[in-house]
């Protein structure tokens, strides 16, 4: 059945499909059990949350760049005013709050739901040829747990205590002793953070169970394990990471809730003084226990953030180079090894907690080891580009940019694997730069690529290429504008939690970055309206980073316009398979109806058969049967199983 025939079938059978009675609106779009609707719900909620997280960061960057000036626009808003100081400047308390919530929102409410919840939900069942997830109602429960958790996080901003401010890692005993001045400890931001996290964890667990069960049991006829698209493999590994890494964080959250509300001392050591007074608990707990439990999740979480990005890019690159994915099997095994190793590297976040040499050696070794599968993945993607006739549409631009961006993020992580270097780099902007390169220009670029790539499948219309380009190029430049200087600052010793950007530390901030009479200095002084010839100090890099952050916000406007305009005015697709891709999701009608496939899909070959010698076209979709008298096809033997 060719793609055109499917489209024809879709229109022909639209009226006599099995969906005779249309469910009411709230059941179809709000409390829906359809994996596609849930995917879209996840996507939109996550994008909104991400926008809020980005906004928090813009306020923080103002405080870093101009610690002595009042915040523009916001200083006149009453709610904000109560957190600002008398001059309208950001207080340390507000900075801490926004810093903690920026991290939490971006990771747990933004990137993971968008990558795993939205793309995973939408694409996985389509790619394996399933009618829906294995447990559709569980899927709905998962979304609503996530939504409630998100709402709780945002409600905490408006409590008298404000939202959580002990950092996104919420280390005890700081997190246990924050906001003690409120009689009702339950309604403090710090406690609500824990409850919201418990909901988010529940959501992830339900999602993970659902994903794994779906991938194991609902694969279509002929979809053997090695015919799965890499996307599905990555989702499977991600599912296992979420399933097994999140419960210890839930344990940590429950224990911290007990510490805050009941007065236990799981994470409070004996003899702790708070504000000059002995803290009235039994003591005997261990702050390190919290860090272990947190980072046992925290490190696999990094791969939860990055594997879906690899997954999306691995779909887009073969499709747009018209070449098979290079080293598919190696990539699959690398992803699995990555998953395994990610569970035994966590203490490299804790080198400075007084761990001895043996433990440090162990974790250094595993951390260096884990770079091997990561490099295999990124290299396979890079080699996949080789010799292709590349189609540089918006999706492909983002996907190709992902490779060097993730490369920078990954390689700058290597020094952090060694505890002697961490002595210098711990908690500096170097670390911030490192993991933001992985997540922001890395994962988020891949997510943008995914949106551009699968948009036609969902809406039946293409997104505008021009706006896409207008979105991509400024984003690329400004992303680097934000994060590249962080490496220099970090190596100069700038601490990540200084709300004035380090201005208070003269001996660090007055280091020279570049003389004023250099070319860079000239441009810099001109752009920021400074006297010509003035030297560029390390702390002046804050100006570049902050300006880039605000410009990056502007660069997202074309994307938002594109997203909404194209739903109604985009160019209509002419077939169900506008990119001439090979995987099963392009076999469905556009948009896919409830139940996805009109007839039971059958898989005939592996996932990336582009430019097969002797074939009529330059792609052989998984769902098209072999021709009786066709040219020899390499996957023919395998397809007979």
């Amino acid at each position: 059945m060719s793609a055109e025939a499917t489209l024809h079938d879709a229109t022909g059978h639209a009226h006599d499909g099995h969906d005779h009675h249309d469910p009411p609106f709230w059941k179809k779009y709000i409390f829906s059990t359809d994996h596609k609707v849930i995917g879209i719900q996840y996507g939109f909620t996550a994008l909104v949350f991400m926008a809020v997280g980005f906004f928090l960061m813009m306020v923080m960057r103002w405080s870093i760049a101009y610690p002595d000036r009042p915040v523009p626009f916001l200083a006149d808003l009453p709610w904000f005013q109560s957190w600002l100081d008398a001059d309208g400047k950001v207080t340390g308390e507000l900075y801490n709050m926004f810093g903690a919530m920026h991290g939490t929102i971006m990771i747990f409410l933004g990137v993971v739901p968008l990558a795993f919840g939205a793309f995973g939900n939408y694409v996985t069942p389509l790619q394996i040829g399933a009618p829906d997830m294995a447990f559709p109602r569980l899927n709905m429960a998962s979304y609503w747990c996530f939504f409630l958790g998100g709402v709780l996080m945002f409600v905490s901003f408006f409590l008298p205590s404000g939202a959580a401010k002990a950092g996104w890692t919420n280390y005890s005993p700081l997190a246990t002793t924050t906001d003690l001045g409120y009689a009702n400890q339950f309604w403090t931001g710090q406690t609500q953070w824990l409850f919201a996290m418990a909901l988010l964890i529940t959501s992830s667990l339900l999602g993970a169970v659902n994903f794994i069960a779906t991938i194991i049991n609902l694969r279509a006829k002929g979809m053997t394990w090695m015919r799965l698209p890499f996307f599905v493999w990555a989702m499977l590994v991600t599912g296992f990471l979420l399933l097994l890494a999140f419960p210890p964080l839930e344990v940590a959250a429950i224990m911290q809730i007990m510490d805050r509300l009941v007065g236990t001392s799981f994470f409070v050591p004996t003899g702790l003084n708070v504000a000059g007074q002995p803290f009235d608990v039994a003591g005997g707990g261990s702050p390190l226990l919290y860090q272990h439990l947190f980072w046992f999740l925290g490190h696999p979480e990094v791969y939860v953030l990055i594997l879906p990005a690899f997954a999306i890019v691995a779909e887009i690159i073969p499709c747009n180079t018209r070449r098979p994915l290079w080293g598919y099997k190696v990539m699959v095994y690398a992803a699995m090894v990555l998953g395994f190793l990610s569970f035994i590297v966590w203490a490299h976040h804790m080198y400075l907690t007084g761990m001895g040499t043996s433990v440090s050696t162990f974790f250094q070794t595993t951390t260096v080891l884990i770079s091997v599968p990561s490099v295999i993945l990124i290299t396979s993607l890079l080699i996949s580009l080789w010799g292709g006739s590349i189609r540089f549409n918006s999706a492909m631009l983002f996907a190709t940019a992902f490779i060097p961006m993730f490369g920078i993020g990954g390689l700058t992580g290597l020094p952090l694997a060694f505890n002697n270097l961490v002595l210098h780099l711990h908690d500096t902007y170097y670390v911030i730069g490192h993991f933001h390169y992985v997540v922001a220009p890395g994962t988020i670029f891949a997510l943008f690529a995914g949106i551009y790539h699968w948009f036609p499948k969902h809406t039946g219309r293409m997104m505008s290429e021009k706006l896409g380009q207008l979105h991509f190029w400024p984003s690329l430049i400004f992303m680097n504008g934000i994060f590249l200087p962080m490496f220099f600052q970090g190596m100069a010793g700038f601490h990540r939690r200084a709300f004035d950007g380090g201005a208070a530390y003269q001996q660090i901030s007055s280091q020279l970055f570049m003389p004023g009479d250099s070319v860079f200095g000239g441009i810099f002084n001109f752009l920021f309206g400074r006297a010509a010839g003035q030297d560029i100090l390390m702390i002046d890099l804050n100006l570049i980073m902050s300006a880039s952050a605000w410009l990056l916000a502007l660069a997202q406007i074309p994307f938002v316009i594109n997203l909404f305009i194209s739903v109604f005015n985009g160019k209509k697709v002419t077939s169900d398979n506008p990119w001439d891709a090979t995987t099963l999701e392009w076999a469905t009608p556009t948009p896919p109806p409830h139940g996805n496939f009109l007839t039971e899909p059958v898989t005939y070959r592996t996932a990336y058969e582009y430019s097969v010698p002797g074939a009529d076209e330059d792609f052989l979709p998984q769902f098209v049967p072999d021709k009786e008298t066709g040219a020899p096809e390499p996957a023919k033997v395998a397809a007979k199983h």
């Binding site: 829906d132 294995a134 003690l180 049991n217 399933l243 344990v251 004996t270 003591g283």
Partner: protein
Amino acid sequence: MEIPYEVTARRDTGLYNAKIGVWLFLASEVMLFGGLFSAYVFLRVGTQPGFDNPWPMGINVQKIWPGFINTLVLIASSVFVVFAWVALKERKWQVFQRWMWGVILCAVIFMGFKAYEYSDKLLNHHDVKLVDNSILGGKILDRTHKIRFAAEEVTVDFSGGIPGFIGEIDEDAGDVEFTVVEGADEDDPKTVKLSQFKKWFSTQRREAMAEAVAEKMKRRKGTWEEGKDEPAVTKAKLTAKFNMHVDPHYIVQRNEETLNYRDRTTVKGKLIDDSIKLELHNINLQMIPMQQQDAVLAWKLIHESTGNDDIKKQVLETRDSRIEGIKKYYEDGVVPVKALRGPYVNYHNLHDSHGHDHGHDHSHGDAHAGDHGSEEAGGGHHGETIVTIPRDQARFVTNHGPRAGTYYAIYFTMTGLHGLHVIGGALVLAYFLFFGKRIYLKNPEHLANRVEVGGLFWHFVDLVWIFLFPIMYLM
């Protein structure tokens, strides 16, 4: 398309969807309880002797029998679940119902014993750690662990949350009426009742915040006129007469006339009484080095309360005779240091294990030493020793709830979480019992599958308890 393999198994994996789902869910549950067990081991082996609170052995501080019975009850319920499943396989609905009722009954019994254990610990057992780290155990009488205070004037701060003192006013004070002395505008009410206090406070707080913001804006824009514009009101002073029982946990500073709360509330008035009255059950000197044990604060307080040193003499004599016993037991004469520091040397129950003995002169006779640790029954004591402990001599006062130490904390967390799992599992199984008939009539195999899946969860809950029982009650 319908979702396949809901009842029948897929050929290559051999499993139906729900079974994969429940095993994955159990895997995450293994990690959940695995995290808790890891925390248990981490906290237990991380305890620094003589520095942290000693980690008690379950057998010394727990009643064994409720836990023992609960273990048997859960095992029985597990057997019932598999029999219920077999009954469905045999297509015998009535038999299935009977076994399922058994399971639910077991769950109820289990939770009943759980409730008994919890309430006993929370209400009948207290520890007072004195400033020199000797610990007096027993039951605190008449809520004397709280500060009794006669309040006359309260100052509340609007920059915080709703003040906590309103929850500590004695119930017999009724609906106290406060008179607002300072901090109210002309149009605000001059009196406020206790029942209206939260609402009043929220309103005032909102107004105070708005005023403070307006003041800030004016100052920033330079339109503030010193002396002419009134500064924002952020505090209010109220007067009322009432008595309170104040939890010292929420107090940062206090003296005879003033209590300063953590939430920036100040209560002025008069201190009624501040000493703790403890019905003495045991003395724990584990944190005190052996050679200092006859000079601890505990003896002084007991002497002041009872007027004699009988208890001290008996406890120390028993200790010495036990050390002799240990030395005899280790015939070669090499006594492990740990054995001399062990809880059964210093941890001393003043009550006979069976509660028949009256008074406190019963710690003679090492014949009981072996098992009396397991029994600390509350009620029914006559001629108790009441010790009065001044507040400034007590470092930490607690019941045997989660606050009492890391052992109790992890005990309550793990058994509490386990209890929630019992309730959840029982609800699921009860759903099959009461609403399963419809599925059964449609496709009995479907219900059998569901019961198998529900049963898997139930067995897992049982399995967790099998580990919890020895590590919490015995070791």
